[in-house]
Point group: C2
């Protein structure tokens, strides 16, 4: 397949945001912030009605602290998907994770959007092969999974077998301050959710085995490896851990002990008792603070971290 | 056993730092920075000779950006351990991870240090039961594992069956800006290295399975979950991921899919090919930068992150 890339990606063409729940609203806020016009669609009237208000939410405005836009894009909201995709070069799909609903969106997209335009699915759990199977031209689709809270966390994990598709999507995501990553082959959970899931399995195991309580596990992560992983990846950390000989030295001397440790890690079962311990633990940790308060603290620190990381790189 | 806590932990009494490699030097730099006098011991003359210079290393001085000391402690360096532990209320042991060497240090400690003083082992791989087995009074020992780079990362993971021992150690660690965490029972790898090991297993698996390359995995972590874990722990993240119903809602609706995902995670074998891919990947990622340069970038960003987290809490 040939995807004809738009000559300059001038951002004068609009993008479509299809599905305007939390994920769609976040994408819309991001595109608009970076001066891109958005044509949003949602079949649900209350979602459409509230979109304008939601993107003015202080939560999304926080994102603008990182980089002031020259002039924000213009939002239009549509009840008919054929109107939302008219004249776009790119669409970001964020409808529920139900394959029939997604398939309908892709079929409508191929009917009504310009023939050179692409569609990216924000799916977290479904694969490209599965999602593209009903499309006339599957290589117009890529999976492009953002990471919550997506107006702040820059990661976008992309997969499509067609390099041209990824090249265009990457250009767009870079323009809106994202860090797009390419998978070499599709995998459930992409990269980040696999890593998060692997870590959480052991975090649950530590609680289940009575080694430490929920708060201690979270505090150890935030004040230990999590802090370090905001700056340097896991592979690079072991590279530095190997001293002057780096990863090669690490693997030679400590590879076998890592393999032994892997064998000692647990595979917990989510029994009633363990679930109750997890629920009680996060309640204690919340200390009566509401979700909004917890999210606000998280977001304020995230913004500051992103600010220096930008200064440093 | 009764541990008589020092009346005020006035910090007028010195602490001993036993073993002055990288870990011991970092502990010494920290104690001195917070105004505590340090009596350091190392059997190796070159380690003793270089200690004074090493703690003036710009790497350690960076730590002072976070909080200026009123007046730094005084360092004395000893070749005879009996001199180094004279009059101390606390000793931090950092000799090599060889049980015979550690046992000798604990025996000497019990011979020569004040009878109410405690000794904390920085061990990453050995357990309290194993280490304390030759001591007359095992409850004078705690394991207190710091996390590299320990002059910046605040985590200290503590274990001892005697609460009084942990109470005193906790007071001291809080005074030097650490975040001490208590394990309820001992475990190889404590908490943080178990979490790090669990995550790295999947990070290696993703490379081994050809899902993504080393750089993409590290970038996904640093720009995704790692960034979030610098602010909020894994359990709390799933609590917020559950929406208004929190962890209970998450476990009810998404618990089963997490268990399925756990079953899909890999157990890679460190074959020659995979080791070569890891080594090549971190080399590419280093982009010709030296270890010192990579550590300097890491440390500068870590300091900034710690600065606001302190402002926020």
């Amino acid at each position: 397949m040939k995807v004809r890339t738009e000559p300059s990606l001038s951002l004068k063409a609009p993008v479509a945001v299809l599905g305007c729940g939390l994920v769609g609203s976040s994408w819309a806020a991001l595109f608009l912030h970076y001066g891109i016009n958005v044509q949003a669609w949602d079949p649900d009237q209350s979602a459409r009605d509230s979109l304008n208000e939601r993107i003015k939410n202080p939560m999304f405005q926080l994102a603008s602290m990182a980089q002031k836009p020259k002039s924000p894009g213009v939002l239009s909201v549509h009840s008919d998907m054929s109107h939302a995709v008219r004249g776009v070069f790119f669409a970001q799909e964020n409808v529920p994770e139900i394959v029939e609903i997604k398939n309908d969106v892709f079929i409508n997209f191929e009917c009504y959007a310009p023939s050179t335009s692409l569609i990216a699915s924000s799916t977290s759990g479904l694969t490209w092969s599965f999602l593209s199977s009903k499309m006339k031209n599957p290589e117009r689709l890529l999976t492009a999974h953002p990471f919550n809270p997506l107006h702040l966390i820059p990661l976008v994990e992309m997969y499509c077998p067609a390099t041209e598709t990824l090249d265009l999507a990457e250009k767009l995501y870079l323009k809106i301050g994202r860090v797009p990553i390419r998978l070499k082959r599709e995998a459930t959970g992409h990269i980040a959710n696999r890593l998060a899931s692997a870590l959480w399995r052991e975090a649950v195991n530590i609680v289940a085995e009575g080694i430490a309580d929920v708060e201690a596990v979270d505090s150890a992560l935030v004040n230990g490896p999590g802090l370090r992983w905001a700056v340097m990846g896991a592979h690079m950390t072991y590279h530095l851990g190997g001293g002057q000989g780096g990863m090669e030295n690490y693997l030679r001397h400590l590879g076998p002990s890592q393999v032994e440790r892997w064998a000692e890690l647990g595979t917990p079962i989510l029994t009633k008792e363990i679930c109750e311990a997890l629920i009680a633990g996060v309640e204690t940790q919340s200390g009566g603070r509401s979700f909004q308060e917890l999210e606000k603290i998280r977001d304020e620190v995230l913004i500051k971290i992103l600010q220096f990381r930008n200064e440093k790189t």
